[in-house]
Symmetry: D2
Subunit: 363 residues, 4 copies
């Protein structure tokens, strides 16, 4: 089969690999569609160290190709999705409720690319398949289901950690795909006022569509001052950092009230120095502020619940898809994702041959 | 001033009373608009014992008429609302987080009618006014603000106690004003599937408008069977009882999954026998089911957050108002509320004279 | 191997069975010690229907005898314990956090006896062994470890659902092994005042030793009146029902304050009628009272944490063991447990031959 | 009356002031005993800016001297305590559950010294007295009750924010009076293993007495390495920072597992630069770690619950008192507290004249 891999830091490409064989609790999925994630770009740049020639990608859906001997309740040919995080759900860390940190390893639930081949290939393997694979409901397209694997899931986790009470106020820093998903999440969780910080008009437009009440363009004003102004000087009840920069991280502390929650979902690995909490807005350690740093979550149950929100028409994330490619064009899609050219937010990759050269050759 | 009182069990009427005088922490409000509540009907019927000639009503808004000597931050003439519950926020019970049970008394936060004159009068007194009175934002009509005082507040409390995770399923029994508000609340709190049980077409229509995904008409099918069917035999994650009948109470246990939450907001005082939990659906006491019985909540902070949801256009409860009256017509409004004739859900009472004879004579 | 089974309702006995074979994710354990549970007595009486000739028991420890092909991190000969509940930790129900209701079945995590052979045999099989088997720390005896499998676990779950804040008050109805464990749990969780309701002097004595501050003997006074008296008429913040009778269930509502929590851990299957909630103490459905019905919990992580409390000397449950037997004497132990004669609380069963005829014949 | 005040930064002394007069909701208390707090030392050093000649102190008990006109439920001569934090319990911030940040001001609940005269005087005024003053139970000495006002309260808040599950592991950095109280709190809340980091033998001894299982002396080893070693390389479930130094703050991140909680209760105002979170132990923002920065809490209900833990013998904090003085000797007590000489932890100040010259001259 063909797989899109990291050859070495800075260099990606398509190679031939054998179709994976499932262990007793695994399932091998034939990929039908995928999204490319900025995390893959971090991997290419060497920020997240991985094994040589490992397959990239962790946002994909497909059909069951081969079942492990101990797997029950799934059948060949069934449409399925796995989250970008595929925890074992068996270890101590999973049982403590921190399945994204599977086996007590930092981000240990992130098996794709980090611990084994990812999903940007014609076939991919899913561990603990009963726990991780969710059947895709009939009424949902592959396109919709894809968004549950990482973007919505990660954005919703961010929104959950904002711990909003009904009607509270929240500021969300950056409206890339995760920030936009956090906006959807905050709207779903009863925020009274959602302030989105973003300068790109197309993203501002999506933010409004997904539930932002107010947009703050940080290139035209000081976003901290502006948010304080918009909240009568009091600040917001919660702030979400969905970018991964020192500036937005610090701003999140400055715009929150005493008693506020700072929910981080930005990846801060690109900057090689400690995150700084400004003292005064943190009450010198005593302002009843809470900080939570989380990321994507896995599991069939979680996917099912996200699917349901799409099935009943409450969420439609597909407007985030700005471009479409066949798997044969994956390198171009990836380069655009790296350069963020052409107003790209999320590129959708088709594996069904409709895009040209990505037909099934794995059998 | 004129006040609408309970003369004796079964008999209500308008009487003259002196305008109340504020104690140090009180504010006296001149009423501009009110809603009538089914609870007032319970009071008339003697189900809830109260003092003779006490003023009815607990859903009202108005303008500040007189301020207690110790009250700060409010000014005469300001538009304000108080919730139907006006706790002291000082006692042990309030400090334990159970302000609706103020002073450790069952429903002790319900001061209006139960402990002193209610709000269906030209003026009403609010205790602990700094804590209980919320300024009404400019962009909000009296009509909208009124719904925050009890209906939305009570419905939202019911929805909160359903303890929904994003995308979970919930069944709501009865779509009167509280049930409809619970539907709004569940939609706000991220329910994936909302099943509303209701037989009256106009209420079904409102339920759909407010967020119900499916309607079950219990006069046409067994609602328990139907809900199990709609959830692949598994049942819902949570059920809300918003009626106060033994049938819907028991059904709430039958339609929930193991691990499900039953949130009761129905008043069960009309039936004079214990509430029965069916054994098998409760796992003989071991199904990880949780039951919570709550009601309305008070406090300026809570009102502000509900107001915000209306200000930003996320909630508009006013379609629940089916009838309008002047205060001079209060007896007719009340009789309709008691008989539920004419498809009444909530009657809005105007105090500003526009409806006829309810002008200000209190100065 | 020899196994202690339910021949038919009302009749138990020891039979020969083959040593179980592990599936890919299972482990077979050679039993070294066990406790008998009152639940086994319920099974004998036919209250809980099970398959004919199924092995009884769910509180046992032992050493790893045979490992499934996919099991990692455990080795033959290792001392291990499994909780009486052995969920899959993979299904939707487990992922929603309700692993005791595994697969969405009421009490579905209770595999032993209910879904397959139990642990009162020379060998027993544990499903999803990586998730369910916990190595027993060196410093812990089999005797101590046994209590983690059900009694402490169940009692701690009951205490958790009392949702105590530091210094709050709690009443615990009945001080059998589960009630005593709930007492230990409430002491561990920061209760300020623990009132234990119990009439048997030996159990009262243990209750005091385990943390009860006050004992109420319900044979000498009305326990509801007495508890209200002891709390200045206010009632307790929480009540735990650890018996499974209509009287204690109802009393739990009567002794709690508005805002109180009722945590049920008693099994109510012996009485074949609905549980009744007295209306007035429940505020007619509006007193902010919460009811939770739970039972035992499984999982390696949970067992480890209970073990740690014993390792560091904070908990020693072994004084609950009133009698010791060899496995050859299991029938006598069981009959005493059924009749509750001789002041029995928990009988410890030795499998190591030291008690006589229970040597290993399974190889 | 005599009051111990900050004359200017760096200079303290006793001056004459009028006995305060209560407003409608206030109570004036005649002081009988007090403790000196390190926070008072911060104030003297100018780290926390206050008004000139303001009275220091916020840990005191006494008897009701004069009641405001609107205060109910308290009587003259009654023994009472107020926490060091005296929120209004009326404002939006209090109603959102953040009463320590009263009126939306950072640490706004800290009225004593920061917003008005403190308690190191012969009389002190308590605002919102019904909410803030707790009668001292008969069985409790002034000495015991004093510890509820700040040390136990603050330490318990720190322990609560560690969000421990039964049997989890926790490391507590520094065993001054707050750290020791956090140790008591973690023991009360069910920690399975408490590791206290402290080098002073007398404090180590108290830590053991109050519940620490292991002591790590950071002057003899690298505490991070040692704690990782003690937890099989996994780290602790939670860490409490009870010192207020950059080193212990950063160590708290390094010793916690993914999914761990960092509870800060140290005051970081002495170091004038941002708090730094080390990136890798924070998972670059994604390790499911939670940080909470809190401090003391007020309110009668809270005090009552702490009193109850002392009444029933579960907590005795008085061994933290290393020195005793009369109010006439307050300057010497304060200087010792500033220099930490003589192994001082907490100095108890008597106001009853027994220590010499501190008799009542306020009437």
């Amino acid at each position: 089969m063909r797989a899109f891999v990291l050859r070495k830091v800075g260099e990606v490409g398509v190679v031939e690999k054998p179709v994976p064989e499932p262990g007793p609790n695994d399932v091998v999925v034939r990929t039908t569609a995928a999204l490319v994630c900025t995390t893959d770009v971090h991997v290419m740049r060497g920020v997240i160290p991985v094994a040589p020639d490992v397959t990239l990608g962790h946002e994909a859906v497909g059909v069951v190709h081969a079942l492990g001997s101990a797997v029950e309740g799934l059948v060949e040919g069934q449409r399925v999705a796995a989250a970008g995080i595929t925890p074992c759900f068996q270890c101590d860390s999973c049982q403590r409720g921190f399945s994204s940190q599977c086996h007590g390893l930092m981000l240990g639930g992130a098996k794709f690319t980090n611990q084994r081949d990812g999903t940007l290939a014609q076939y991919f393997l899913v561990n603990n398949a009963e726990a991780n694979l969710a059947p895709i409901p009939e009424g949902l397209s592959d396109h919709q289901a894809l968004y549950a694997t990482d973007m919505l899931s990660t954005g919703f986790v961010a929104a959950e950690h904002a711990e909003l009470e009904l009607g509270e106020t929240v500021a969300i820093f950056a409206q890339g795909a995760v920030g936009l998903s956090a906006t959807i999440g905050c709207r779903l969780l009863g925020a009274g006022l959602i302030v989105a910080v973003e300068s790109i008009p197309a993203r501002q437009e999506l933010a409004r569509r997904f539930g932002a009440d107010l947009i703050v363009d940080h290139t035209r004003c000081d976003p901290v001052e502006r948010i304080l102004e918009l909240t009568d000087g009091q600040g917001v009840d919660a702030a979400i950092e969905a970018l991964g920069s020192p500036e937005t991280w610090e701003a999140a502390f400055r715009v929150t009230k005493p008693g506020g929650r700072i929910s981080n979902v930005g990846y801060h690995g690109e900057v090689r120095e400690p995150l700084k909490i400004p003292l005064e807005p943190f009450g010198y350690g005593m302002a009843d502020k809470q900080v939570y740093g989380g990321f994507n979550r896995g599991g069939r149950g979680w996917l099912r619940r996200i699917f349901r929100l799409m099935e009943t028409g409450k969420v439609d994330p597909t407007p985030m898809t700005t471009h479409e490619f066949s798997f044969g064009e994956i390198e171009r899609a990836f380069q655009m994702m790296a350069s963020k050219e052409g107003g790209i937010i999320k590129p959708l990759i088709h594996f069904d041959g409709s895009g040209g050269d990505s037909g099934d050759d794995g059998a």
